[in-house]
Assembly symmetry: C2
Homo-oligomer: 454 residues x 2
């Protein structure tokens, strides 16, 4: 960064602009830990005006700008590969409005979903998208995150009504509507959702809220193989039980969870199925049907959790699954895949993946939001095990090809970032050009989060 | 159209290209009947190749191209205001695949939603978006149509997984994914949904299917005023009953329905509320709660319909409401508004609208998908009643302003077309430029459905 550029940033942002080494380092990596590159400065935005000033200075001085919120993304999205500015939005935490009667809340982008949910408790409402990490709503919109709640309530995309977005040319536009539906012109909202900070900076979001079901229970059921567990998940979806959550964890994942949390879950392929209902009688009816489906599908042990404490502990274990696995191999690097396929193809794509991992001697664990047809394989190996990583990438490539052949996608929820650009090109060869055209329209100098997605 | 252009069309399309006067006239109006302009020729596409050829000839000869399916849109979307070609897609009716296990069907764009639903019956599945008319799936995607099912299942936007789109430059791209969710790059699917045929021609759609609820009942409840009925609709939504449908009809609308269909519904402001459940016991519980909410809100007469025949007759009456009203004033022209506001603002925006209509002596009727915050006012007057139409447009303008101030939109489902361009500009002054940029990217010559939206 040139001296005048830095001076201009300092003049505008004072203490909210930092070049301290630890601050730069904290903005040089994401939760995958796979890549690292330092920004030249970090600006801590407190307001939309701060964002606009940062974009203006970036434009004037030709600086790359990488929006940064919690940094929990896994595909290298926040890594400043071209240096420049990391624009930290985590301080934009204002709750602008909560409208329980309109099932909506308006917040600044640095508010995390657990923070929002704590405020909503007293209203009997919640925001249903819950990626494991304490992610921000701006970050979640930017990767189109989902999580365990997506099977019932949809992804972040489905739960953002309106946004304010600061553009590289200095304008702020409002996209979407606070109304639940609109057909007013081209839908620009969905262009910014999932754009990973490459098209604009989200400065405010109005999100959709949902009533909490009156009654909830979590059924845990073990199976002999993950293929059986996946087939059972499909049959639960087909029964129109409308589960709140439908998660698959394999034996290795449960071993990690037990180690990490001192629990004693059976270490076998398992489904965790949450059902909700408006009355206990309705819940019991749904549980009964679900139990039968599990047993028909080869379910071995069944356990139902009703208390809030036990349910919370289960979902906390699920949310920490990634960290639990990493803790099992503390000296290994990790790589998480994120395939999503049409539901009827899930069992065979999962079985293919498991078989290829076994055949190639890869020690990987499986976990998935299987009600959506979405699953993750967590690969790990010593960072310098070059042969190991080569095998991992070969199998990963085969998996992506299998998912695409099944009509699926290389990323159900984590996004593209740095790591999946080649897979994106494999998945959408026909639309890369249009994506590039849109990028050029909104960011002609290519300053916004360069090197990501395209 | 120049002679060489017509000759080229005839050479390529033979009998599937027509300049017969009745054919041109059938492609010169939509169901609103408010505008009329003749195309110079109509091409009946049977395949994606036909669409590509038509676009290529349009490009070569500088012809405007207006996609046309069923022509049931209400905002002048299909009117060829610049002449040229009407590209009729209603013959593209192939069912490419039905995948009940993946909750999805792939069809050509001319398939109508009733046609698709007839095929799905035996699978226990259905496509839930149901605008009144027998609309095509391509047309519905292009206006982001909704209908009575949107309150539970979302709009067309929410129920299209993947599309093939033919572009003006001769390419075909695949947008979206057959997987239920994806974060793979910029979302181009949502750009074409709601674009009213101005950005590309949809040649294939994969739509999302849903299981039919096992048990259904429709509660009819009358109220003293539409404001009371609207307030009750809000309280039903707040009770988390998750209604399948939640419709408001005013006294005038019910009078029209009774005349049109020989029914005897009480001619008072009414809610029609459909509830679904997986068992009769659960349904009874929900009905009980719903009845209480209706009575608390001032509900007067309550009636529950359980039989399939009675329910079907109610929804058929609702779907024909527009025609019933037009039949009441056969010599009048009609104008339907389409506001949508956040749910908590619905009662006051509705009450404001009713008051302004009364104050200005406008004889209008109200009907609405009120669970979404969406309602239509059907204005009517003799075509040459200039003072009457001036008053209608003044009140309409006040209504739009009120809806926008409430955070809503000038169109919840009908789209912009010719009629709402000024309202769109009022709603989204900040994003018109970006919309124009996107239009220029995809259709630099401005040949695709010119004069619409922007
Ligand atoms: C343990 C663990 C579990 C996870 N589980 C899931 C899961 O189940 N589902 C899932 O989808 N993801 C999951 N993730 C990934 C991660 O949580 C999501 O990608 C999340 O959306 C990132 O949010 P963030 O606030 O950390 O954003 P960051 O990582 O800070 O940023 C993500 C991207 O968004 C951009 N960005 C951030 N804020 C803005 C803004 N205001 N405007 C414009 N661009 C912005 C950044 O430039 C970057 O490209 C998990 C991650 C971890 C570590
Ligand atoms: C009685 C009645 C009730 C209605 N009720 C509702 C309702 O409840 N909810 C609602 O949303 N709408 C409603 N409508 C409006 C109408 O049904 C919808 O707008 C519907 O989506 C139009 O579908 P269509 O097949 O008739 O399309 P058309 O009217 O033929 O075309 C609509 C638009 O889509 C474009 N188009 C059509 N096919 C394609 C394609 N394959 N590719 C690209 N562009 C294409 C056209 O150029 C045009 O701009 C109603 C209309 C009537 C007459």
């Amino acid at each position: 960064m040139t001296t005048p550029a830095l001076a201009a940033l300092r003049a505008r942002f004072g203490d909210h602009c930092s070049t301290a080494r630890p601050v730069l380092e904290a903005h040089g990596r994401d939760e995958s830990g796979l890549d690292f590159a330092l920004p030249e400065a970090v600006v801590f935005a407190q307001s939309e005006e701060d964002v606009l000033s940062a974009l203006q200075l970036a434009r004037e001085h030709g600086l790359a700008v990488v929006p940064f919120a919690v940094g929990s993304s896994l595909e290298g999205q926040v890594i400043p590969v071209r240096g420049g500015l990391s624009l930290d939005l985590s301080g934009m935490k204002r709750i602008v409005a909560i409208e329980p009667g309109g099932f909506q809340a308006t917040v600044q982008p640095g508010v995390t979903y657990p923070e929002l949910n704590r405020l909503l408790r007293s209203h009997g409402l919640f925001f249903p998208v819950d990626p494991g990490a304490e992610a921000s709503l701006g970050g979640m919109a930017s990767t189109n995150a989902s999580g365990t709640g997506a099977v019932k309530y949809g992804t972040t995309r489905d739960n953002v009504l309106e946004m304010r977005v600061a553009l590289m040319d200095g304008r702020v536009i409002r996209v979407g509507s606070k109304a639940r539906k609109t057909s007013a012109g081209y839908d620009l909202k969905h262009l910014f959702i999932g754009a990973e900070g490459t098209l604009g900076v989200i400065t405010e979001l109005t999100v959709r809220l949902w009533p909490r079901p009156a009654e909830l229970a979590v059924l845990r059921c073990t199976f002999a193989t993950i293929a059986e567990a996946a087939a059972c998940a499909v049959s639960v979806m087909h029964a129109a039980l409308g589960p709140e959550r439908l998660e698959l964890l394999d034996e290795e994942q449960l071993r990690a969870v037990n180690r990490h949390r001192g629990t004693a879950y059976p270490e076998r392929p398992t489904l965790w199925i949450e059902l909700g209902a408006s009355s206990r009688a309705a819940l019991d009816g749904a549980l009964e049907l679900c139990r039968e489906l599990c047993l028909d599908a080869g379910g071995q042990t069944l356990h139902a959790a009703f208390s809030e404490a036990e349910r919370a502990s289960i979902w906390e274990a699920r949310h920490h699954a990634y960290y639990a696995l990493r803790a099992l191999y503390p000296n290994h690097a990790n790589l998480s895949t994120d395939l999503c396929v049409p539901l009827h193809r899930l069992p065979d794509v999962l079985a293919f993946t498991r078989r290829r991992c076994d055949e190639r001697g890869l020690h990987a664990s499986f976990v998935g939001h299987v009600g959506d047809g979405n699953f993750h394989v967590l690969f790990h190996a010593a960072p310098d095990d070059h042969a190991g990583w080569a095998t991992i990438h070969e199998v990963y490539g085969e998996m992506v090809t299998a998912a695409l052949e099944a009509g699926g996608t290389c990323t159900g929820e984590h996004g593209v970032g740095l790591h999946k650009r080649a897979y994106l090109a494999q998945e959408r060869p026909d639309s890369l050009e249009l994506m590039r055209g849109i990028k050029a329209l909104l960011d002609p100098e290519g300053l916004l989060n360069p090197g990501k997605i395209l």
